[in-house]
């Protein structure tokens, strides 16, 4: 009997929202929808990264060459630090899921214990990311070098320590024969980048000139990343030749042939888009971790005050847990596509 209602349904039953088709509460459902939209944002960012990398003509930086340092231990540990960060975030995701599980048993003490562990894990991750950013921004001791033929090379090796500068020509601040030992590395890199080093003599900010006392660099390797007139990308220059070529550029007095560290305009690891994507993607993720920690702290305060226990369920913990797991989920993808491949 088309067009004929067989049973009268009053509008209250129909639109009163009594039954959820998904058997979940409104809050949890909306958290899921929010996460889908947020996942699309991150998906868009990572796909944009893939697009840029795919149409880029030169060679793109390799994660294990760029990220190979550990705090206090120096270089030569490819990806170990990021792997530790990944492990840290996985562990804090586990403590979160244990908090949710404790909530399902109405175990208030358990929820508090595991949420505190999660928050500590979150702070550790944020600290690790701060170190990673600082390391990325300050860069290596050698930087990236533009060789005589116009090719660009990433430099690996052992940097000979700078002992001091001996002033040979007075400026506004420094007098002749004065020995400068403080902050020499910083001044050296700045002068090299600006082309203020010439025949082992550095011109300082105040206009004075000084002779550089520096140990020799050793075990150097120049990995050519962008082809020039002589060297094609993929070429590796080693040994005495590499040392000499690098020294020549340092002492050439030309500006901007050596780039240290990274900012939004340029970086020593590869094309500038690489640095921009690094800052934006890990930064956006880090911001999610930060807000996740804050939300966890707020919910923990509610747990401690017994708000959810009185309510009869710990669904708020479950909802903030969903957000926290999502942050871990995103990092799994960032780890693969930014660092591994």
């Amino acid at each position: 009997m088309a067009g004929h209602a067989s049973k009268q349904i009053d509008s209250k039953t129909l639109w009163g929202g009594k039954i959820s088709p998904f058997s979940t509460s409104y809050g949890k459902l909306m958290m899921w929808f929010f996460l889908v939209s947020d996942a699309l944002t991150f998906g868009g960012l990572l796909v944009a990264y893939g697009f840029t990398r795919h149409n880029y003509g030169g060679s793109w930086p390799i994660g294990e060459e760029t990220f190979n340092s550990l705090p206090f231990l120096g270089h030569g540990y490819p990806l170990i630090y990021v792997a530790l960060m990944t492990f840290l975030l996985i562990v804090s995701s586990v403590t979160m899921v244990l908090a949710v599980e404790a909530g399902h048993r109405m175990d208030k003490k358990g929820v508090i214990k595991w949420m505190v562990a999660t928050i500590i894990g979150g702070f550790f991750f944020l600290g690790s990311q701060a170190w990673e950013w600082s390391h990325f921004i300050h860069g290596s001791e050698f930087g990236k070098v533009e060789l005589a033929d116009g090719s660009l090379a990433v430099v690996k090796g052992h940097f000979g320590e700078i002992e001091n500068f001996t002033v040979t020509k007075a400026g506004h601040h420094h007098k002749v024969d004065e020995t400068i030992t403080e902050d020499v590395m910083h001044m050296y890199q700045h002068a090299v980048a600006e082309g203020h080093v010439h025949n082992n003599v550095i011109t300082l900010h105040d206009g004075s000139e000084a002779r550089i006392a520096k140990k020799d660099n050793s075990e150097m390797k120049l990995l050519v990343k962008e082809s020039g007139g002589t060297y094609d990308k993929g070429t590796v220059i080693e040994g005495a030749e590499a040392i000499k070529m690098y020294e020549d550029v340092v002492n050439s007095g030309d500006a901007h042939r050596i780039t240290y560290g990274a900012n939004l305009q340029e970086n020593e690891y590869g094309p500038k888009q690489y640095g921009q994507f690094f800052f934006f993607i890990t930064g956006f993720h880090g911001f999610h971790v930060f807000s996740g920690v804050l939300i966890n702290i707020l919910i923990l305060m509610g747990v401690v005050r017994g708000v959810y226990h009185k309510r009869g369920h710990y669904e708020m913990v479950e909802k903030t847990g969903l957000y926290w797991h999502f942050v871990d989920l995103v990092w799994v993808f960032v780890f693969t596509f930014f660092y591994l491949v």
Partner: protein, 122 residues
């Protein structure tokens, strides 16, 4: 202050002590698995360089392992595996359709843009 005219779905998640033991066992298993996968990825990355012949396989291996990790996080840690079928697919299907399309179209376009730049820009 419970209202009997509203179904309280928030209480569905509750389980007993015995069930909790089982659930925790599963959580620790997934933890060990995710850690092991991450360790394997790092070791493979160290052993096989990007210029070696085996790299394409390793690269695809990384991508598969990532999706395995993501699946465990979403289905176990986020409990999506235990939700209603309807909810599961409302979350997963639109996401996969959009992402697969986006990946396909941008890699396609990326190749084309790259070729154009190689031909005309230099």
């Amino acid at each position: 202050m419970e209202r009997d005219d509203i179904i309280e779905y928030s209480l569905d998640g509750h389980h007993s002590e015995e069930a909790g033991v089982k659930i925790r066992k599963k959580i620790w298993f997934v933890t060990a698995l995710l850690t092991a996968i991450t360790a394997v990825e790092v070791i493979l990355g160290m052993l096989i360089k990007q210029d070696s012949g085996a790299w394409p396989f390793v690269k695809w291996g990384f991508i598969v392992l990532t999706i395995v990790k993501a699946a465990y996080i979403v289905l176990v840690f986020m409990h999506l595996g235990e939700e209603r079928k309807g909810l599961k697919y409302v979350i997963l299907i639109p996401y996969f359709i959009f992402m697969l399309y986006l990946i396909f179209i941008l890699l396609w376009e990326g190749t084309s843009v790259g070729e154009t730049l190689a031909t005309y820009a230099s």
